[in-house]
Every structure is written in structure tokens, then in C-alpha cells.
């Protein structure tokens, strides 16, 4: 269980930080789309007898970068490109699973997460990836924040906005596949989006908002894992429901005016 908690906290921090940039770029569902495309990758791994998360990393990152390129090149709107990515991942997955003889228990653990079963190797990988991604974000913090705030101004200020955009997509791809073990393919966008939309209502500055979001996220993940362990229920559902509870609470506080605007 301590492995589950350590991995869970790392994933909570990672999803909050990457998710905040995605939400502010109006890319809230992009995490979901990458997760669905990783389903295709998982199926490829299971069929080929390779560790499915490796193929999931490859397929989801490559397809996310390709779809972003197509979107930019042919002026397709963000939501339409997300729909294409999302459905093609599932379609590929279904066809391959059909070819390999149908659903197995492995598939279900990827669809709904299996954080309580996380291995030592997985935990080390999760910690290493979290550390590396956070270092990249800290090093390029100004450039990433600026191009999220206003692309045109960031360009005039000499920031390579397109490269930064691809970097964010790349980091989001790694984050999504890493997080599949916690909440599974189907609930991933909850971790990206819900703590952040709650935190945006509270936080004044950017760093403050990110810290609030990380706190919300860690609270949901840790409490969710403990509750699910005690009552023997699915961690993924519990974590997301707790997260939604925080969001509803935030709206409640906001609507009663307890949280003054200034």
C-alpha cells in the first residue's frame, strides 16, 4: 500500500501541473484523447507480448504529436482533433483485441487502473518520470507560461512557441500513460481537469493556483487510496468522486460569497 501512496502522490502532482497548462490552453480533453489512443498502444503490447505500457507510451506520444501537426497544418479545430485522436485509439484497440482473442483481465486493469498492485519497478519509473518532467517545466517555466497566456505576444518576445506547444503535448503524453496505473484510461482527464478548475477559482497568482491544485489532487488521491483499501472498492472511482466533491465544495463556497473576489 505504501507503494500505491507514493506513486499516487507523484502522479497527483504531475497531473495537476500538466493539467493546469492544458486547461488554460483549452485543451482539457486532450488528456482523455491521449489516454484513449494509449488503449490502442496497450492492445498492441498485449498482442505482441511486450510490456503494454511501453507500447502505450510510444503510440500515444506519436499519435498526439501527429494529430497536433495535422491540426496546425490543416486548421482543424482543437475539439475535432481530440475527437479524431480519441476514437481512432479505441478503434485500433478494439480491432487488435478482437484479433488476439477478446478481453482479458489485463485490459480491465488498464481501463480502470490498478494502483494497489503497482510494483517496485513501476514506482521507481513513476518517480523518475515525475522528477524529470517537473525539472523540464521548472527550467522552461517562463516560456511555457508565456505561450499559454498569449501565443502571439510570446512569439514577439522571441519564445519558440511552436516548439513549446509540441513539448507540452509530449509531456502530456508521458504523464497520461504514467497515470493510467492510478485511475485507468477512462478516468484520466478527471485528474487533469477537476483539481485545476477548482484551484483556478481560489488562486490569485499562477504559482498559488498550481499549489492549491496539487494539494486538492494529493488529498483526493491519498484519501481515495486509503478509503478504497479499507472498504475494498475501486480506487479510481473513489479518487475521482473525492475530486468532484472538492469541486462541488468550491462552487458552494464561491456561490455563498465566502470567498471574496479580492
Amino acid at each position: 500500500m505504501h507503494r500505491a501512496l507514493i506513486s499516487g502522490i507523484a502522479i497527483a502532482i504531475l497531473c495537476s501541473v500538466i493539467g493546469l497548462f492544458l486547461v488554460l490552453r483549452r485543451y482539457s480533453l486532450f488528456g482523455d484523447a491521449i489516454a484513449h489512443s494509449s488503449f490502442g498502444g496497450i492492445a498492441v503490447g498485449l498482442l505482441a507480448g511486450v510490456y503494454p505500457l511501453w507500447t502505450a507510451y510510444g503510440v500515444s506520444i506519436i499519435s498526439a504529436l501527429i494529430i497536433t501537426r495535422i491540426k496546425d497544418r490543416y486548421n482543424i479545430s482543437g475539439d475535432a482533433s481530440i475527437a479524431v485522436l480519441l476514437s481512432s485509439g479505441i478503434a485500433v484497440g478494439l480491432v487488435i483485441i478482437g484479433l488476439s482473442g477478446g478481453f482479458t483481465i489485463d485490459i480491465f486493469s488498464f481501463l480502470f487502473g490498478s494502483i494497489l498492485l503497482v510494483s517496485v519497478n513501476d514506482t521507481v519509473l513513476i518517480l523518475a518520470l515525475t522528477g524529470s518532467i517537473l525539472v523540464v517545466i521548472l527550467l522552461l517555466y517562463r516560456q511555457i507560461l508565456y505561450s499559454t497566456f498569449n501565443e502571439q505576444q510570446a512569439k514577439v518576445s522571441g519564445i519558440p512557441v511552436e516548439k513549446i506547444n509540441y513539448l507540452i503535448i509530449f509531456l502530456a503524453g508521458i504523464t497520461v500513460v504514467t497515470s493510467i496505473q492510478l485511475v485507468g484510461v477512462l478516468l484520466i482527464s478527471a485528474l487533469f481537469v477537476i483539481p485545476n478548475v477548482s484551484a483556478i477559482m481560489f488562486g490569485k497568482g499562477f504559482k498559488q493556483t498550481a499549489i492549491i491544485s496539487i494539494c486538492f489532487s494529493i488529498f483526493s488521491v491519498v484519501t481515495g487510496i486509503i478509503i478504497s483499501y479499507i472498504f475494498d472498492i475501486t480506487p479510481a472511482g473513489t479518487i475521482v468522486l473525492l475530486s468532484i466533491g472538492l469541486f462541488v465544495g468550491t462552487i458552494g463556497i464561491k456561490s455563498t460569497g465566502l470567498l471574496a473576489k479580492n
Binding site: 505576444q153 512569439k155 514577439v156 497568482g205
Partner: protein, 240 residues
């Protein structure tokens, strides 16, 4: 006198129309250039080319003697204030956060306070950017543009959402930046009267360059002003 900006034979073609047709002018160090022209005259297209946001043009643009197609370093010496600062309304950033985005060295953190004070927005520093009025927002974006000690300030004047008092404050800030801090200013405006008061050079644009020279020369020539006003009026009627 040193030419900071040289634009020669600048032409931008769209499929059915020329947005800019053979534009030639120079801007010298210390100039305060007001660019006037009706809606659709190509002012924004001109700025986009100068800022390397639009690279599909014929002709040549030089900043500090160097062709901008060859080097983008000139952008480090330019401050730009857009006409409409576009951002997510609920973007969780304070005024300080937004201004800091243009600060390239962490050691110059004290510069933020200094410039916010200079522009009378220091008391707003911890406010969220989405809560500000149009006039306050404009000053925040000027502060952003000044963070890197620019040699040239390029401003696209906002047309709506700014009250008269803020407009007057904006003009006095521009005058001070030009006269005291010797920043060269390139400023597009609809307000002929304000251009007359502030600018020492005028470029009158209506897809072609109608006039370029000293502002007294333009404003003392009734025929030129009348011609400009008529062209502007025709364009206005055309748009409605």
C-alpha cells in the same frame, strides 16, 4: 542620424487584394511616429510583418541595419503593445505574474516594482489580470513591453473600452517615454488630434503610403488632411 527601421518595397498580397502595396519608409532614433489610416488600411498587417508574425511578404524590413529574415535578435530590443490583449478571462495570473513573463533575468526582479510604479499600476500588482479595466490592462501591457529596456516601442492603439481619463494618461506616458527615456515610438492610432499633439512624424497609410514625413508638414497642409479625411470617410462608408 541612425535609421533604426528601414522598410523598402514592402508588399503583402492576399488572394484578391493587396493589403500593402510598395511601402517605403524609415524610422530614426528618437522618432515618435504616428501611423494613421482608416480601418483595413493595413496597419495591423504592417505591424505583423515588422514583428515577424507574418513572413509572407515581398520587399525588405531592416531593424538596426539588419534584415529581419536573417536574424530575430532585434525582437529583444522591441517592446510591443497589442491592440487587443487576448487571454483567458479567468487566467490565474496577477499583474506581477504577467509583467514578469517578459523579464528575462531573475536578478532584475526589482525592475517590476519600478516600472509598475512609473505607470501608476503598482497598487494593482496583486490583482488578477482578468479583473482589470481596459485602461489598466493597457498600462499593464505597456509595463510588460518595457521590461527589457526596449529601444523601440510598437503600439497598436486599442479602439474600444478605454475611458477618456485613461487615454490622456496613456498619451502622457507615451510622451514621457519618448522625451525622457529616449525610446523610439511607432504608434498606430485613429485619433488624428492626438497624433498631431504627440507625434513628430506621421505615416499615413491606406494600403499604399499616402504620406510620410514630419507631422507639422502633414497637419499644416489642409489639402493633405482633407484628402486623408475623405479617404478615411470613403473607407468608413464602404465598411458600413
Amino acid at each position: 542620424m541612425l535609421s533604426l527601421v528601414e522598410i523598402s518595397h514592402l508588399t503583402v498580397k492576399y488572394p484578391d487584394v493587396k493589403a500593402l502595396d510598395d511601402i517605403n519608409f524609415t524610422v530614426n532614433s528618437g522618432d515618435f511616429l504616428g501611423i494613421i489610416g482608416p480601418n483595413g488600411a493595413g496597419k495591423s498587417t504592417l505591424f505583423d510583418c515588422m514583428l515577424n508574425l507574418n513572413t509572407k511578404y515581398d520587399g525588405e524590413i531592416k531593424f538596426f541595419g539588419e534584415n529581419i529574415r536573417k536574424s530575430k535578435n532585434y525582437l529583444n530590443s522591441i517592446g510591443y503593445v497589442p491592440q487587443k490583449p487576448i487571454f483567458e478571462k479567468n487566467f490565474p495570473a496577477t499583474v506581477t505574474d504577467v509583467v514578469r513573463m517578459d523579464l528575462r533575468k531573475d536578478s532584475e526582479e526589482s525592475k517590476i516594482d519600478e516600472i509598475l510604479q512609473q505607470l501608476w499600476i503598482h497598487e494593482l500588482r496583486n490583482r488578477r489580470i482578468g479583473e482589470l479595466s481596459g485602461g489598466q490592462l493597457q498600462r499593464v501591457f505597456i509595463a510588460k513591453a518595457l521590461m527589457n529596456n526596449p529601444k523601440i516601442l510598437i503600439l497598436d492603439e486599442p479602439v474600444t473600452g478605454i475611458d477618456q481619463q485613461s487615454i490622456e494618461l496613456f498619451y502622457s506616458i507615451l510622451r514621457e517615454l519618448n522625451s525622457k527615456q529616449k525610446i523610439t515610438i511607432i504608434w498606430s492610432s485613429h485619433d488624428l488630434d492626438a497624433v498631431n499633439r504627440l507625434a513628430n512624424h506621421v505615416a499615413c497609410l491606406n494600403r499604399t503610403l499616402f504620406f510620410h514625413g514630419q507631422s507639422e508638414k502633414f497637419f499644416s497642409d489642409d489639402d493633405l488632411v482633407k484628402q486623408y479625411s475623405e479617404a478615411s470617410m470613403q473607407e468608413h462608408m464602404h465598411h458600413h
